[in-house]
């Protein structure tokens, strides 16, 4: 049986209660191609059942609801099933299973959680705000996982007096701090009127980005490993252009222009190599 649910915590927990004893259960929050003769059911959230289920799980494992919240944020197609397998194991063993990394269900879930928290961590650095004429800050993002509201406390902590909007353009939603409250809201399109000197600051930042690079040490692979290309599009420093505009040079860093041998101090003072 395939159990469709809407991706919310309540719906997941309701579906879990239904599917728990079903050996071939598949929980999914997305679309799923049914096999011939396969049965499916859409499970709407039942707040009462979900609350009971949550209470019981919290008794078994105090922090498992945090795991669930992270798992359901994942952009992974199979997130419903990964969470289901993880929670079924908690229910079977009647204890926290987080550290039992030899179990498939646990490794899959922890990998999935790791990807979500990693992206949230990365975005703390890669988000780029623009200043609007009103003084508020606006940043478009397009994360793989639904992490925009995970970023709220971080930016609220450092910019308590400045209202800001983190606009997840992929999911058409926004995480907002208005100076007193923080909340999430659907947001299709935003019209932004930039502050007068915003472009000047962006160009200053581009200038800075260009001048801290050491062209004789070209390591694009490393750069892309730390800062995957999918995050580049909202960055005013324009890393793609910086990579393209590098002076042409051989692939190895040590053969670059700076390192090329030239007639020079210590060599000049040495005698010419004798040739046989």
């Amino acid at each position: 049986m395939i159990y469709f649910f809407d991706g919310s915590k309540e719906a997941f927990l309701t579906a879990f209660l239904l599917a728990y004893r079903d050996k071939d259960a598949l929980l999914t929050a997305g679309s799923h191609q049914l096999a011939l003769g396969q049965k499916s059911i859409f499970v709407p959230a039942d707040p009462e059942k979900a609350r009971r289920c949550e209470t019981r799980f919290t008794e078994l494992d105090k922090t498992c609801m945090r795991d669930l919240s992270l798992l359901l944020r994942s952009g992974e197609e199979m997130r419903g099933q990964i969470a289901f397998r993880y929670f079924r194991l908690i229910a079977e063993r009647q204890r926290a299973v987080r550290n039992e990394l030899a179990e498939d269900a646990v490794t899959e879930a922890s990998e999935c959680i790791r990807r979500v928290t990693l992206e949230a961590h990365r975005l703390k650095g890669f988000v780029r705000f623009m200043e609007c004429a009103s003084g508020a800050l606006y940043a478009p993002i397009s994360p793989d996982n639904d992490v925009s509201d995970l970023l709220l406390p971080h930016f609220r902590g450092r910019l308590p007096h400045i209202p800001f909007v983190l606009h997840d353009v992929r999911r058409a939603k926004a995480a907002v701090w208005d100076g007193t409250h923080s909340f999430s809201a659907p947001l299709e399109k935003a019209e932004v009127i930039l502050a007068a000197d915003e472009t000047a600051w962006q160009s200053l930042w581009r200038q800075y980005y260009a001048s801290v690079n050491i062209p004789s040490r070209k390591r694009i692979r490393q750069m892309k490993g730390y800062m995957p290309v999918r995050y580049w599009k909202f960055m005013p420093e324009n890393p793609a252009a910086a990579v393209e505009n590098l002076p042409p040079q051989p692939a190895s860093p040590s053969e670059s222009k700076d390192a090329a041998p030239r007639p020079h101090g210590s060599f000049r003072s040495l005698p010419e190599p004798r040739r046989p």
């Binding site: 990394l101 030899a102 450092r158 800075y208 980005y209 001048s211 690079n213 890393p239 700076d258 390192a259």
Partner: protein, 415 residues
């Protein structure tokens, strides 16, 4: 707003400071802008693979010192510029607000005199903290030979300070940085360390270098061996209580008869960092890693090299070995070791399990057994070859004068 030209001049030579970490400070926001993030945060990466975390900038590049390796040395013909403290503060706050940077790394050439420069630096940081109400990360470069009182005052406002050793021995320092001496660098480091300990013990209000001190050494500009460099590193960690030692592969930016003309190989820098990590997080002592007069091997990493010299300890059984021993297995790092420790409490681990837990077995398989099973190469002599083959080879390059005696005789033709 600071002009683009001045920004370019003042960041051009600041970029050779490798220190970029913004970690270690949990400074809270006190009604202004910014706070510290104890884990640090990288905001961008440049095509050289380095991260941009802090705004690295000089207050001035107009220097009275004449350090041979430096872009801003007195005798070098480059455009000179200075920024006002206000310009720096404004730039920092506006970049920070847009989430471009995690904080400021402020340094300066020795302008007019060491005391004058240090005073300007302190004034800037004070302004940033008090008038601009900035509570983000500030890394301040110490100026050698400045007044000790200025140094302690700076430490009250900065999160981290650093005095760069630059060269790993007094002799090279005399030769290449004649105005600096080992004393002028070590004394303020020790002073700060002493005052920080007192400050913490007395639980005084405010901050005193919450993220500690770091230093930097240029590798490949002078003939010191890795063994010598790492011994200095270890003593800096143990005696002076430094948080980090950075190594910077020598890049020729100025020509001088006393300096090699070639870029020092990046692989050597990499091996030094690997050894540095072994000293700090893996319980190694420098005596185990490399003799004083030798370099680290380039073909395999320092931990592999140690394991190959000490095969009597291997293979270790992952289901029984203590944490200290797991950490000494090549290819197993802190995270993998912790995963193994927690997973083996529930079940006996096999190689399948390890693979699923994403423990990298490429190197480790030669040094471990799982449930009594061994998957490594039985012929011990072949292991080194296999390990070395996995490493990416260093691209061919111009020989350095300091590489090996053999290389020198190849250049001079002398036998």
């Amino acid at each position: 707003m600071i002009s683009e030209t001045i920004l370019h001049i003042l960041t051009e030579s600041a970029k050779y400071d490798v220190s970029c970490s913004s970690s270690g400070s949990g400074r809270k926001n006190e009604g202004g802008i910014g706070n510290g993030m104890p884990d640090g945060c990288c905001h961008s990466f440049t095509p050289d693979g380095r991260c941009v975390s802090l705004l690295k900038i000089l207050l001035s590049n107009d220097c009275i010192f004449d350090c041979k390796y430096c872009m801003s040395r007195r005798s070098h013909d480059v455009p000179r510029a200075s920024a006002t403290p206000e310009e720096i503060c404004e730039l920092t706050v506006d970049f920070y607000k847009r989430n471009y940077i995690e904080g400021l790394f402020l340094s300066s050439a020795v302008h007019v005199s060491p005391d004058f420069t240090m005073e300007q630096l302190v004034r800037t940081v004070k302004l940033l903290r008090e008038r601009y109400n900035f509570h983000g990360y500030v890394h301040l470069k110490g100026i050698p030979k400045a007044d000790p009182l200025l140094v302690s005052e700076a430490a009250r406002y900065a999160d981290r300070m650093s005095y760069n050793m630059e060269l790993p021995s007094e002799k090279s320092l005399k030769l290449l940085a004649p105005q600096k001496s080992k004393e002028s660098l070590l004394l303020p480091m020790k002073q700060l360390q002493r005052e920080r300990t007192v400050f913490r013990a007395e639980k005084r209000k405010g901050f005193f270098l919450p993220a500690g001190q770091t230093t930097q050494m240029i590798v490949g500009a002078s003939p010191e061996r890795d063994g010598q460099i790492l011994r200095l590193t270890q003593s800096l960690y143990r005696v002076t209580g430094l948080k980090r030692v950075y190594y910077s592969s020598y890049t020729p930016v100025v020509e001088d008869a006393l300096l090699p003309a070639v870029q020092s190989p990046a692989l050597r820098e990499h091996r030094l960092y690997q050894a540095d990590w072994l000293l700090r997080f893996y319980g190694f002592d420098v005596e185990e890693l490399v003799p004083e007069g030798e370099d680290l091997p380039l073909d395999v990493d320092p931990k592999c090299a140690w394991a190959l010299r000490n095969l009597q300890y291997f293979p270790v059984e992952v289901n029984r070995a203590p944490l200290e021993m797991l950490l000494r297995v090549p290819g197993i790092g802190g995270k993998s070791a912790q995963k193994i420790l927690s997973a083996r409490r529930y079940t006996s681990l096999t190689f399948e399990h390890l693979k699923k837990m994403r423990v990298v077995l490429k190197r480790a398989r030669h040094f471990i057994t799982a449930g009594g099973k061994f998957l490594g190469e039985k012929n011990l002599l072949a292991v080194r070859g296999l390990l070395a083959a996995d490493e990416t080879p260093e691209p061919p390059r111009q020989l350095s004068l300091f590489d090996t005696p053999a290389a020198r005789s190849a250049l001079t033709g002398e036998l």
